[in-house]
């Protein structure tokens, strides 16, 4: 198999000493527990593809795609090796070798046709303000929520400018369609020609920050955390837990800001057993929802159980995919847990 992309990672794969510290918190390894399911095992498989010692097979490809890119392994790595980046390269080489999944192709086709992951034409609530705000696919689809969050910004002294937008390309990147990613990035730049802007979605903010070196996205919560204290928010008097989205906590290092906001709006925060940079993933990232839906669901159910085990009935989070995945788990679990976006709590406090 040609390893056009993995080749670039040979040095990092050598730097990995295979200490296995990355096992410790890997949600997929915790569920499946064979070593090929853990980050080290996947890195070893990537090395095998690079060296030609293992044959690319459907079985192997499934392993490489069975990862939520939660970056827990990056936090725990003794040598600072980024296994998600290595797996991204492995996925790209596997795709080029013909290991394409119908579910992935279907998702990417929707983006190519309509500019969003839902495959239908959706327009954002166009607004002619001063500060560009990127909604991202999931908030495009949740227009009412997006309008509320834009109103939060307005009440905090920001004049949001909203234009028609297209997907930032994240699904192309994580699912291994690197060649097509470039085309989607060009489309994105054309439709959304701003260098500095606010992102409503954690995943878009992280992906753009990492994959568009010249752009400076700012995640919405940074502005909210900075401005909220000056706008005298109400105290909600609620008890809730907070789930740290992987891209926010580990990807962008924002652990304190959401907690500060919850404190300011009078939410009694009951922490989950794992939190901050050590928080367990809900399973929604890295394309796992489309690669292995049942596994992604199990991970979300685990997070839901942890919340219920803390005696709370509200779980706040920020990432729309976490909201979606844990929210669905909560529904399957009988609706005992209410999953909300933290911005909804902010809205309540500002109304």
């Amino acid at each position: 198999m040609k390893t056009k992309y993995l080749k670039e990672w040979e040095n990092e794969l050598n730097i990995c000493i295979r200490c296995a510290y990355c096992f410790e918190g890997c949600p997929v390894f915790k569920q499946l527990s064979w070593e090929a399911d853990g980050p080290r095992g996947k890195a070893v498989l990537a090395y095998g593809l690079l060296s030609g010692e293992v044959e690319p097979t459907k079985y192997l490809a499934d392993k490489i795609f069975q990862c939520s890119f939660c970056r827990d392994c990056v936090e725990r790595c003794s040598a600072n090796v980024s296994i998600p980046d290595i797996l991204t390269a492995a996925r790209a080489d596997l795709v080029n070798a013909g290991f394409k999944y119908d579910a992935h192709l279907d998702l990417l086709d929707k983006i190519k046709r309509t500019g969003n992951i839902f495959g239908r034409e959706i327009h954002p609530p166009i607004q002619g303000g001063e500060t560009p705000v990127l909604l991202g696919c999931r908030f495009l689809e949740r227009a009412d929520d997006a309008k509320r969050y834009l109103e939060i910004l307005r009440r905090l002294g920001i004049k949001p400018k909203v234009v028609d937008e297209t997907c930032c390309g994240m699904p192309f990147g994580v699912l291994g369609y690197k060649d097509e990613l470039k085309a989607q990035q060009d489309k994105f730049r054309k439709k959304f020609p701003y260098k500095e802007f606010i992102c409503m979605c954690t995943t878009c903010a992280f992906f753009i920050g990492k994959n568009y070196p010249d752009l400076k996205p700012k995640y919405i919560i940074e502005e909210v955390a900075k401005r909220l204290p000056y706008y005298n928010p109400k105290k909600l008097g609620l008890k809730a837990t907070y789930h740290d989205p992987c891209n926010l906590a580990r990807g962008m290092g924002m652990v304190d800001e959401p907690r500060e906001i919850l404190k300011q709006i009078g939410v009694d925060l009951i922490e989950l057993p794992t939190k901050g940079k050590g928080a367990e993933c809900c399973g929604g990232g890295g394309g796992l929802l489309v690669s292995d839906g049942p596994l992604a669901e199990r991970l979300a159910e685990r997070r839901m159980d942890q919340a219920l085990g803390r005696g709370v009935d509200i779980l706040a989070t920020l990432c729309p995919t976490c909201e979606f995945n844990i929210g669905n788990a909560a529904q399957r679990g009988g609706g005992k847990l209410k999953v909300v976006n933290l911005l909804d709590l902010v809205w309540e406090a500002l109304r």
């Binding site: 040979e10 296995a20 527990s33 070893v44 060296s51 293992v54 003794s78 040598a79």
Partner: protein
């Protein structure tokens, strides 16, 4: 043959606990060492009975069996050099009993060190070996390698805290070794023999472990030295003074430079740093130990000394040491840290001399080596840092390993203080201790006459570690 093997194994464990896909075999073919060799099949037993049945079968069919915990061995303990069955023991992970009235606990071999300590903490006790890999290391693996870590200077190694164990022998028999008591003179202490036997004598399926009370106070100090020799003398004198440090660590200038380059911690650009720590139940006693060690540091021109009980401050002081390995990994573009000659132990009085010698050998052989480690226990960690893609660098590494271990033997040290022998240290260790080999081979023959338990390791390992297995790196030329 493989089909028959799988079919037979399915009669012992459920199908979901057997893997023979080439991808899985490739993953289980390496650990944290430089070695690589493929097993024929991976099996996850869940009960003692399953382990017994697997061993009876393997013994009858003469199939190698390699027990594996986290697979974090740095010397190739779990590399299946002859193929065979890898027994992934991580599913046998129950803490069976915490019996504080007898100050012990009973665990299955797949229990992770940190998990055990989390379970013991509410009772005010801990399991002391504390290897750096405690977050993933299993008790079975720790027993196999006689692991220890940064607090071994006070609390010893795994062997010191193992009271007893249940072991499945090569023929499938189950034996109970050791006792539930602190002392025992009832026959050979075979449980001690099993510790450090690297899976070559039996499969540990349960262990009875001595636990230790958690200290109430812990104080960490740091001292800088302009001469490596003076840091070495300090370590030796601290140990000779009757002090009881709970940690006594050394870090050389290469390590300091690497940490500063990668983390901007602003560590002083000195020849060496010593970290010294004391713990105990009474603060005055800890103060006494710390003041004593501080005076010795000062006597040997240690400067910039800081000491703290505060947990956050201790974390700050320790950050450089903790991040040392990650920093060494990024020391120089294209240069890779390999776990070779990585844990020799030398008499305390020889630490400084040994550190200087390591630098000299490295320079002469075109590799980079940093010196750090738990020098209070005499353990010196190093990594051979080289371009692993170049064939000639492996020749350099071969010379370094040989020269270094010859020197360690000459000054009365041992080949391995913490990680074990397995494959990559075996040639040097066999050369240094060839008087032991017939005895060890006789023991092996008595317990495993068909040589199926982790064969060709330790005394039976190949004489050239470079060619003992395929190297796990892509080597050119």
């Amino acid at each position: 043959m493989k089909e028959a093997l799988i079919k037979d194994l399915k009669k012992i464990v459920s199908e979901e606990n057997i893997r023979d896909n080439p991808a899985d075999l490739y993953v289980y073919g390496s650990d944290a060492s430089v070695h690589e060799a493929l097993p024929w099949v991976v099996v996850r037993p869940k009960t003692i009975e399953e382990v017994q049945r697997i061993m009876r079968y393997a013994n009858a069919e003469l199939i190698p069996v390699i027990p594996r915990g986290a697979g974090s061995s740095t010397s190739g303990h779990t590399t299946p050099i002859d193929g065979g069955i890898v027994l992934d023991m991580k599913q046998m992970n129950r803490i069976l009993e915490i019996r504080l009235q007898d100050v012990l606990c009973r665990v299955e071999p797949g229990v992770v060190d940190d998990d055990l300590n989390r379970a013991l903490k509410p009772y005010g006790f801990f399991w002391p070996p504390a290897p750096a890999s405690s977050r993933i290391a299993t008790i079975g693996g720790e027993i196999g390698a006689n692991t220890s870590g940064l607090r071994s200077v006070k609390y010893g190694a795994t062997r010191d805290s193992v009271l007893g164990m249940k072991v499945v022998l090569a023929n499938g028999d189950l034996v109970n070794l050791g006792a539930n008591t602190r002392v025992s003179t009832a026959g050979y202490q075979l449980e001690k023999l099993m510790v450090g036997s690297e899976g070559t004598l039996g499969i540990v399926v349960e262990a009875t472990l001595k636990v230790v009370p958690l200290p109430k106070f812990r104080c960490l100090g740091i001292a800088n030295f302009n001469k490596l020799e003076e840091a070495g003398e300090t370590i030796s004198e601290i140990m000779a003074s009757g002090s009881s440090p709970s940690m006594l660590e050394l870090m050389d200038n290469i390590g300091i430079t690497a940490v500063n380059k990668n983390l901007s911690l602003g560590l002083p650009d000195v020849a060496a740093i010593i970290l010294f720590e004391a713990d105990g139940k009474v603060k005055e006693a800890v103060d006494y130990e710390m003041e004593g060690m501080k005076r010795i540091c000062e006597k040997h021109n240690g400067f910039g000394i800081q000491m703290s009980y505060d947990a956050k401050e201790r974390t700050r002081i320790y950050t450089g040491r903790k991040k040392l390995f990650a920093s060494l990994s990024r020391y120089k573009e294209g240069i890779i840290c390999t776990d070779l000659a990585d844990d020799m132990a030398v008499p305390n009085s020889k630490v400084a001399e040994c550190a200087e010698k390591i630098h000299e050998i490295a320079e002469r052989n075109n590799v980079i080596m940093s010196v750090y480690g738990h020098c209070g226990s005499g353990v010196i960690h190093t990594k051979i840092m080289m371009d692993v893609r170049k064939k000639e660098q492996w020749e350099d590494a071969r010379r370094v390993v040989e020269e270094l271990y010859d020197y360690v033997d000459k000054i009365g040290g041992v080949t391995s203080g913490e990680h074990g022998i397995a494959l990559s240290k075996a040639p040097s260790w066999k050369k240094a201790r060839n008087d032991l080999l017939p005895v060890m081979r006789a023991i092996k023959k008595a317990l495993d006459p068909n040589n199926i338990l982790n064969p060709h390791k330790l005394q039976d390992a190949p004489d050239d570690w470079v060619t003992a297995t395929k190297l796990r790196y892509l080597v050119r030329g």
